[in-house]
C-alpha cells in the first residue's frame, strides 16, 4: 500500500479500528512508518470524535412520551383499546385540510364542466353514458332492470349512478330503519381511459400546499427527488369530532363488513360526513369509508396517496337513505379487486329523517 491507498482507505480503517483484516494490518504497518499518513490518521480520528460526539444533544424531557400520548388522546380504556385509533382516513384527512374548500370547489367545477361538456351524462335513463374526456368514445352500459341485490363486479373502477339504486324492504329486525342495497353496474372494460376526477383533486390539493421543490430540500441535488417523493403531512384535527364506536351517532351505518376487519374509529364530521376506519386483525390491511351527503355523481378513480409511493385505490358509490343521497367512498390499501369485492359486500342502513 502506498500513501494514496492509505488516503482512500483511512476513513474505513478509522471506522472499524478493531478489525484484523489483512488490509487493516497493512494500513497499520504503513502508519508506523509514514509520518504524513500518521498525521492524516490522527486528524481522521479527531474528525471522528467530533462527528460521533452527541454530548451537545440535550436530554429529552422525561415526559416526552406522555406528552405525545396526550396529544394523540389515546389514553385507552379499561380494555386497553385506544380512544382514537391510528387511522386517519386519507380522504377525511385531505378534506380536513385547508385545501378542502378549494379542492371541493375545483372538484365541483370539474363535475359541472364535465356535465356541460357531455350533455348525455346527467340524463339518467335506462342507459348510463360514461364520459370519456380523452377521446370521442362514449360507452353505453345498460342498467339492469331489477336491482335487488348486489352483483359482484371485479372491475377496480366502478360507478353507480343514483338511478341504479333502489330501495329494498326493511327487515323486521330493523323496524325503524330502512335498508338500501347498492348494486353495481357494468363498467367499460377500458377503465384506463376514464377521467380521474378524484385523482386530479387529490393531486391538486397536495400540490397546492405540500409541494417540495428540489432546491428546498436539504439533501442536495441527487437526493431531493427521493425525499420529495416521501413527503408527508398530517392533520392534528382528530380530537373534537371523534367518538368511540359505541357512541357514534351514525347517519348511515355499514353492514356486512368482512370479519377480518375491525372497526377502529368512526366519527361524524361537522358536514354530516360519517367516517369509518377499519383495520384487519393482522394489521396489514385497512379500509376507510367516507359517507357524505351528495347529489353530485362523481367517478371513482385510482388515486395516489399522499406519499406518492403507494397506490391507494378509491372507489366511489352512491346510496340513498330516505330522500338523502350519499356518496360512499371506499379507500384502502387492498388490491382494487379486493376493495371492489368488499364494496359489493357491504350494505348500509340508516336513520330515515
Amino acid at each position: 500500500m502506498d500513501c494514496q491507498d492509505i488516503k482512500n482507505e483511512i476513513y474505513g480503517y478509522c471506522d472499524d479500528l478493531e478489525s484484523s483484516s489483512p488490509s487493516h494490518l497493512e494500513i497499520l504497518s504503513h502508519l508506523k512508518e509514514c509520518e504524513d499518513c500518521q498525521q492524516d490518521y490522527q486528524l481522521t480520528l479527531a474528525e471522528n470524535e467530533v462527528l460521533r460526539d452527541t454530548s451537545d444533544i440535550p436530554v429529552l424531557s422525561p415526559a416526552f412520551t406522555t406528552m405525545v400520548m396526550s396529544a394523540l388522546n389515546i389514553g385507552g380504556d379499561l380494555n386497553g383499546q385506544p380512544q382514537n385509533a391510528p387511522k386517519e382516513s386519507m380522504i377525511a384527512s385531505i378534506f380536513k385540510r385547508k385545501i378542502w374548500l378549494g379542492g371541493g370547489l375545483a372538484l365541483a367545477a370539474a363535475v359541472i364542466a364535465l356535465c356541460l361538456h357531455i350533455p348525455h351524462l346527467p340524463q339518467l335513463g335506462t342507459n348510463i353514458k360514461v364520459a370519456d374526456t380523452y377521446g370521442s368514445v362514449s360507452y353505453e352500459q345498460p342498467v339492469p332492470n331489477v336491482i335487488a341485490k348486489q352483483e359482484s363486479q371485479s372491475s377496480p373502477l366502478e360507478q353507480i349512478e343514483p338511478a341504479a339504486i333502489e330501495k329494498t324492504e326493511p327487515k323486521a329486525t330493523t323496524a325503524n330503519k330502512s335498508n338500501y342495497k347498492v348494486t353495481s353496474t357494468p363498467t367499460p372494460t377500458d377503465t384506463s381511459r376514464l377521467p380521474s376526477i378524484a385523482s386530479a383533486a387529490v393531486s391538486r390539493g397536495q400540490a397546492e400546499q405540500f409541494t417540495i421543490t428540489d432546491e428546498d430540500i436539504a439533501l442536495g441535488a441527487d437526493n431531493t427527488r427521493d425525499l420529495a417523493g416521501i413527503y408527508m403531512d398530517w392533520t392534528q384535527d382528530n380530537g373534537a369530532g371523534n367518538k368511540s364506536a359505541d357512541s357514534i351517532e351514525a347517519y348511515v351505518t355499514p353492514l356486512n363488513m368482512p370479519e377480518r376487519f375491525k372497526l377502529i374509529q368512526s366519527f361524524n364530521s361537522e358536514d354530516n360526513w360519517t367516517i369509518y376506519d377499519y383495520a384487519s386483525l393482522d394489521g396489514k390491511e385497512s379500509v376507510h369509508l367516507t359517507i357524505a351527503p351528495s347529489i353530485e355523481p362523481t367517478r371513482g378513480a385510482k388515486t395516489l396517496n399522499i406519499s406518492g409511493q403507494e397506490t391507494i385505490v378509491t372507489l366511489t358509490r352512491y346510496i340513498q337513505v330516505g330522500d338523502q343521497k350519499y356518496t360512499v367512498t371506499y379507500t384502502g390499501d387492498l388490491s382494487a379487486d379486493d376493495l371492489t369485492n368488499l364494496a359489493n359486500t357491504v350494505q348500509f342502513t340508516g336513520e330515515v329523517k
Binding site: D53, G76, G220, M232
Partner: protein, 197 residues
C-alpha cells in the same frame, strides 16, 4: 423482545402500550436528527412530537414487511424540513456546543497538559466549524452515520436512495470536511493544524 414491526401491528389492532414502546425506542434518534437540523431544543422537541403524531396517524400506510426505523427517520427528516419551511427558516445541521457545559464530553483529555488540552479543544472547534460549512446533504448523511450509528444500508433506506449512493456520499462528505479544514487552516496561516494534538 417484540420487533418494531410486531409493535406496529399491535398498535394497528388497538394496543396503546405498543405505541408507547415505539416512542420510547425512537424518541432519542428522532430528536437527535431534528435537533441537528434545527439547533433549538424546544423546536426540536415540538417537531419530534409532531413526528410521532404523524407516525401514529400514518401507521396504516407502513409496509410491515419493511423495517420500521428507516420509515420513522424518513418521516422525521421530512417533518422537520416541512416545519422549517413553514417558518421560512434556513435548515441547518447544528453541531454547536451550547449544551456542552451541562453535558461534558467524554474525551480522553490529558488534563495534566493545559496546552494540549487547549489545542485539542481548538481543533475540535475547527472541525465543527468546517463541518457546519458543508452542504446540508453531507451534514445529514454524516449525522445519520456517526450520530445515529446507522450503517450505509440503513441510511439508504432512510433517504430512499441506494446503498452505493450513500457510500459515495459519505466518502465525499469526509473528503469535503478535510478539504474545508485544511482550507481554513491555510487561510489562518496555520500550516500545521495538528501540532500538539
Amino acid at each position: 423482545m417484540l420487533t418494531d414491526e410486531m409493535l406496529t401491528a399491535r398498535v394497528l389492532c388497538g394496543e396503546v402500550s405498543a405505541f408507547e414502546e415505539l416512542i420510547n425506542r425512537y424518541k432519542m434518534s428522532v430528536f437527535t436528527i431534528i435537533y441537528r437540523m434545527t439547533g433549538q431544543y424546544q423546536e426540536a422537541e415540538d417537531i419530534s412530537q409532531d413526528v410521532f403524531i404523524t407516525v401514529y396517524q400514518k401507521l396504516h400506510q407502513f409496509d410491515n414487511s419493511k423495517k420500521f426505523a428507516p420509515w420513522i427517520h424518513r418521516i422525521a427528516i421530512n417533518t422537520c424540513i416541512s416545519s422549517l419551511r413553514k417558518k421560512n427558516k434556513v435548515i441547518l445541521l447544528n453541531f454547536d456546543e451550547s449544551y456542552n457545559n451541562q453535558y461534558e464530553s467524554q474525551y480522553h483529555f490529558n488534563y495534566g497538559d493545559p496546552d494540549l488540552f487547549l489545542r485539542r479543544n481548538e481543533l475540535r472547534a475547527e472541525i465543527k466549524t468546517a463541518l457546519k460549512a458543508l452542504p446540508e446533504s453531507y451534514q445529514l448523511v454524516l449525522a445519520l452515520r456517526y450520530q445515529l450509528d446507522l450503517d450505509n444500508q440503513e441510511i439508504a433506506d432512510t433517504l430512499g436512495v441506494n446503498k452505493e449512493n450513500i457510500e459515495v456520499k459519505i466518502h465525499r462528505a469526509r473528503k469535503s470536511l478535510r478539504k474545508m479544514l485544511l482550507k481554513n487552516w491555510e487561510e489562518k496561516g496555520d500550516k500545521d493544524g495538528l501540532s500538539g494534538y
